[in-house]
């Protein structure tokens, strides 16, 4: 692939056009291209993945938005928050005798003669937002991609563009733009210096800067979103709340602002059309060429080249448990449970039961310990998992917040709720602040939404005329004084810290390996040998004979724990040793629970 006649990065449309022309020239009928690719996607696939072009593609985020130019290749990582249906567009039309294509653009590059022959194709619109609760370390550090336009872009031009925007943005916004610009260039300078440093330390440094930057950007990040247009992909590939990376052509068209002001009766009629509320001057468009689903691993800045060798993994595990123990004030049992909790995920669903979830309820918090350990735990989890949330549960909060997403028919959009979370998010619910009070109807609704998330890992989405249940996969941790009655967790454990010493600082490298560890171990498959299965069954029977109060939930929890313990050692098969550990852990937990009562 030497000497490409086009530049995939800065002129992707040229590449698209070229492949189209080539395909037409080779005798294919443009009419047959509907819903198909004529080679453009392959080309970009080659360019991005086989030739390593991906790392050169700038990541779209509030800071890069300022300098990325329209009609260039960008990528965007986000969660699909809403689906806006399909859009019909003129896919190909005849310009004189030549076929032209409009695929991957909003407007035609060539004049469309009104009477020309045209083909209508469709594409899907997805409304994407940055993954909710994404921690700063998981954000893509902007330094990794150099701004190829900084030099070529004259400030004047920028200015002009911004003036166009000025109709929409007020003075404040402009100011913040300047600030951003400043911070960006500062970062740029720093980045240049750092090019000499070894990779690792650069990473740490960028992390710091990015976390600083994220503070500045925070307000903007919240509202940052992207309208992704998907071509030729089966519907089942992209689901609501999935996290994806989209690589595509960026368009950002301040010209189109006029739409909104001029709307009259008709546009109001048809224009509950969500697009009207997302003027392209505010929400960038991305014509997606290539998209791929992201796993948590993709958010880790660096993947240690650790293999799943049991010794190394064991050491890692030991270190992590040690860290958690320190965080939890020397409570090693809780730390063990916490590790399992952090590794849990829903791996199967049978009817209403979500198999594999392990929600944890830490009880015995009081005012003081909640403020000390609650915060510490929160920080520790934030450092370990990419997507975390913290809900301080109070009566007021329950009565006012909208937890479940709701469809707003006025704008024809799905209004996101707190519980619209990406797969694998972690949610800490702090019940220690909860006082006696009266719940209004919203409060009751919210409580039941939380409960159903707890029990079935499902969130009800409110579509006004009916509710729709969406599957979720969220790790739930509850901090409470006594056993939470509101939120029945799988595992209840009295928390018994023995020291309040703050844990020693952890260095960034270690954190990174732990992140990798959690993400990797979590996705391990799991199985059981027939003879081990026999042992497990016997144990369950014996336990039930001994204690009639054990229900199927308890037994189910044991098996989940067995799976998670194996996973925490990097093993894919349940062994006797680990099964014993489960029983031991369960015994310790029970002892505590009874000793406490």
């Amino acid at each position: 692939m030497v000497g490409l006649p086009y530049d995939c990065l800065s002129n992707p449309l040229g590449a698209v056009r070229l492949t189209f022309e080539k395909a037409v020239a080779s005798g294919s009928d443009p009419a047959s291209f509907e819903g198909k690719d004529w080679g453009a996607a392959d080309l970009f696939h080659d360019f991005l993945f086989d030739n390593g072009g991906l790392s050169q593609v700038p990541m779209l985020n509030p800071s890069t938005l300022k300098w990325v130019q329209p009609n260039t290749l960008v990528r965007f990582r986000g969660m699909i928050q809403d689906m806006l249906g399909n859009e019909f567009y003129v896919g190909a039309h005849k310009d004189g005798d030549i076929w032209r294509t409009n695929k991957f653009t909003d407007t035609s590059q060539f004049p469309m003669a009104p009477s020309s022959d045209m083909r209508i194709w469709e594409r899907r619109l997805l409304y994407c937002i940055p993954v909710p609760g994404q921690n700063s370390w998981a954000e893509f550090s902007p330094e990794a991609v150099k701004n190829p336009y900084t030099n070529s872009l004259s400030p004047q031009r920028e200015k002009r563009q911004r003036e166009d925007d000025a109709t929409m943005s007020d003075v404040d916004m402009q100011d913040s733009c300047h600030e951003l610009q400043a911070s960006l260039s500062a970062k740029k300078m720093r980045e240049d210096e750092m090019d000499f440093q070894p990779l690792n330390s650069q990473k740490t440094a960028t992390e710091e800067t990015s976390s600083n930057a994220s503070l500045v950007l925070d307000a903007e990040t919240k509202s940052f979103s992207c309208l992704v247009k998907i071509y030729d992909s089966p519907e089942s590939n992209l689901k609501l709340n999935d996290v994806f990376e989209f690589v595509g052509i960026f368009t950002f068209d301040p010209d189109l602002t006029a739409d909104k002001d001029d709307s009259d009766e008709l546009t109001h009629g048809f224009g509950e059309d969500a697009l009207l509320h997302l003027p392209s001057s505010k929400v960038p468009r991305l014509h997606c060429l290539v998209h791929r689903k992201l796993a948590i691993n993709d958010f880790l800045s660096v993947c240690p080249t650790l293999e799943l060798k049991s010794n190394a993994v064991k050491e890692l595990r030991e270190a992590l448990v040690g860290h958690l123990t320190a965080v939890l004030g020397n409570d090693r049992v809780t730390a063990q449970y916490m590790l399992l909790h952090l590794l849990s995920r829903v791996h199967a669903r049978a009817d209403t039961i979500a198999v594999g979830k392990l929600s944890l309820n830490l009880t015995c918090f009081n005012k003081e310990s909640a403020s000390v350990f609650g915060n510490r735990l929160k920080l520790a989890i934030e450092n370990l998992l990419p997507f975390t949330h913290y809900l301080p549960l109070t009566v007021d909060y329950l009565n006012t917040v909208s937890l479940s997403p709701k469809k707003d028919y006025n704008t024809n959009r799905l209004v996101s709720g707190v519980l619209q979370l990406a797969e694998g998010s972690h949610l800490t619910i702090d019940e220690t602040e909860l006082q006696a009070g009266t719940l209004n109807s919203t409060g009751v609704e919210n409580a039941s939404v939380l409960k159903s998330l707890m029990e079935f890992q499902k969130v009800e989405y409110d579509f006004t005329y009916y509710k729709m249940e969406m599957n979720a996969d969220v790790q739930l941790l509850i901090l409470s004084e006594g056993k939470s009655n509101l939120l029945p967790a799988d595992l209840i454990l009295p928390f018994q810290p023995s020291s309040v010493d703050s844990p020693s600082e952890v260095d960034a490298d270690m954190l990174k390996t732990w992140r990798w560890y959690l993400a990797t171990m979590r996705s391990l498959p799991h199985s059981i040998e027939p003879d081990m299965q026999k042992v497990v069954e016997d144990d369950l029977v014996a336990a039930r004979q001994a204690d009639r109060s054990l229900g199927s939930q308890d037994l189910s929890r044991w098996l989940t724990m067995g799976r998670l313990i194996s996973a925490s050692f990097g093993e894919t098969c349940l062994t006797m040793e680990h099964w014993q550990m489960v029983k031991e852990l369960e015994r310790l937990g029970r002892e505590r629970l009874h000793g406490n009562m």
Partner: protein, 835 residues
Amino acid sequence: MASDSSPANIHGGPLSPDSLASSPIGNTFSSPGDSRRQKRGRRSSYATPPPPPDSRFATPDATPTPSSTNPRRGRGRGRRSSTTPTAAATPSSTDDAPPSSDAGDGDDIDEAPPMYVWGTNISVQDVNAAILRFLRHFRENPQQIEGKYMQAINHVIEIEGESLDVDAQDVYDYDSDLYTKMVRYPLEVLAIFDIVLMDMVSRINPLFEKHIQARIFNLRSSTSMRNLNPSDIEKMVSLKGMIIRCSSIIPEIREAVFRCLVCGYYSDPIVVDRGRINEPTICGKQECLARNSMTLVHNRCRFADKQIVRLQETPNEMPEGGTPHTVSLLMHDKLVDAGKPGDRVEVTGIYRAMTVRIGQTQRTVKSIFKTYIDCLHLKKTDKSRMDVEEQMETEDRANRNDNDFSVDYEDKVEHLKEMSKQPDIYTRLTRSLAPNIWELDDVKKGLLCQLFGGNALKLPSGASFRGDINILLVGDPGTSKSQLLQYIHKLSPRGLYTSGRGSSAVGLTAYVAKDPETGETVLESGALVLSDRGICCIDEFDKMSDNARSMLHEVMEQQTVSIAKAGIIASLNARTSVLACANPIGSRYNPRLSVIDNIHLPPTLLSRFDLIYLILDKADEQTDRRLAKHVVALHFENPENSDHNVIDLPMLTAYVSYARKHIHPKLSDEAAEELTRGYVEMRRRGNFPGSSKKVITATPRQIESLIRLSEALARIRFSEWVEKPDVLEAFRLLEVAMQQSATDHSTGTIDMDLITTGVSASERMRRDNMVSTTRSIIMEKMQLGGPSTRLLELLEELKKQSAGAEVHLSDLRNAVATLASEGFVAIHGDSVKRI
């Protein structure tokens, strides 16, 4: 009229069949201007002054901007009402059949050379003739003297209606070719349809002024909103969905009148032409001729109603992990406000697309299209499971509306009927009910009966007998009662799930509240009233306050809720089945106490439950092992392929609602006899000397329960007659439910070893076999009143007889205990003595 020179014009353009598959629109562009002229020109020659054939679906204006456009998009009834009279009055349709003829097939043989809709092989004359034939001669059955649609047309004329509903199914039956053409080229064919109708009407009643339009409905196949794609543009589609939003009514101009500002001259009405009204630049008055002086006179213009409605996919059409799609509908005239938000409707219309202009002032057109459906017909479907029963009640109405069951519906019914003929349908349904909850077969059978329900009976005297079956589940914690409840709640046609602790009496029945806005007192329904004709699931029944529980007395027998508070005295229907579950007193079942003492609910309430299940958790290694296996399998096997012989949830719902709606079994004589016999038997047992109040005795309520249960069992088989086996099964269910077989009548306690609920049929069979083998061994080996034998010896003997099968001492013990309860043997410690 000439220049159709804009991309938007595709919409009006006729289509070429060969390009249809890939893109219907392509060809239209090569020379639309010409063809249009051609078509119009020619057509006017054949039917004299008809409005332009495509006026009903006016070609969307050259560049339909969001703002100015629409006057034209849509059917020009308002406008036409002025043009039609002329058309109707002049008997111009000379080339049609003579007015008098209403027979004769050659109605419409035209001398003129055949004319084709441009770009297609549709001959205008042919279609015209086909439509005329269809309208004249279609009869639903040969006996009818007058054609169905001739009658309908006459009716429309009588009531001065504006539209004629045409069942597409009829069109298909009569002339499938016409149907195909109509669906593929609706714009052209419907225009011809309207012309034909107009001619017919004017012939019947030349003075009839209104223009009648054909409203097509009930297409053979309905599309899912998700599958609408570019190839559907300009075709007739039928969609199901739910209305989520209606715009306000938009007056759309049809005719405009202008006035000269200089001389006050009023212009003639100017008709909308392709979405535009051309304002005269010069005053029409010869004396004035002022330039640019004309101004619009609003109150002399004609307007038509228009409304934009948004339709959303129904939840069951949505794939997992998607959000519902929506589509805009354009409603005109009579269809305006025909549906309200929340209605489930089936819409027939033409799928259309229009270009979007970048800005109002800009002429550039974006390459994007907006799509909408020009609505022809709207039908409220309401075939959701909720309304199964309502349709039953208002049968006449329902029958009239639903004489058009869709094909797939009939297929489904056929399938359900086939299912019902399977001999093992009862067990299969049982197995499919909450397949994840393990065992508890008999409880599931009871719940199945509850779902199907018995027949409600209303005597002419006013007394009524409920058909709903109430069930109470009492059991140890951790026996998945709540899960069963959740499952039933999901399955039942309409129902609410409440938890005893959280429900108060008013929350269950009804309460009076002050409307915050008007200050009036209003009655708000509680859970029981809301689940009228459904199942109300109440969890933690024992934790409910007595006050709340006492409210249930009335509901469970009389099925009404009477309110007398805050000046409102009312009686509300609450024809609901109650499914409650409770823990025994002291959380766990205490074997030393009697059943009644354990349940600890007032007998008045207890007797209102048809079935009371004691789900007891017995320390039995075998059941524990099965549970363990079940849990392990849940974790390590792919849950999808675990049980394939299970009927899935939608099918089960369909089955239940069909049975509830259509099957009304009656008692056969044989069954009635059996019922009487069994009841007498039960009474006798209840009056066992010394039983006192420790057991639940049979009351007249029980016999009603039995009738309901056997009716439900007959319904499961889709049988119109309750037969003897049904009654026997009903008795068995009732017995099993109360563990009566295991109850020691003298003390009222349950022998824990005899509990059979939750034991699968095979297990029960095994135990029965064991009992009979043991019996035969004892018969053989021991004399009446002879010396006693040790259990171990019996075990040896048993092992010898049943070679291969494993026999445990505990099994034997159970068997012997059963025999002892029959009075066949006596047990003293480890030895058995025959008596």
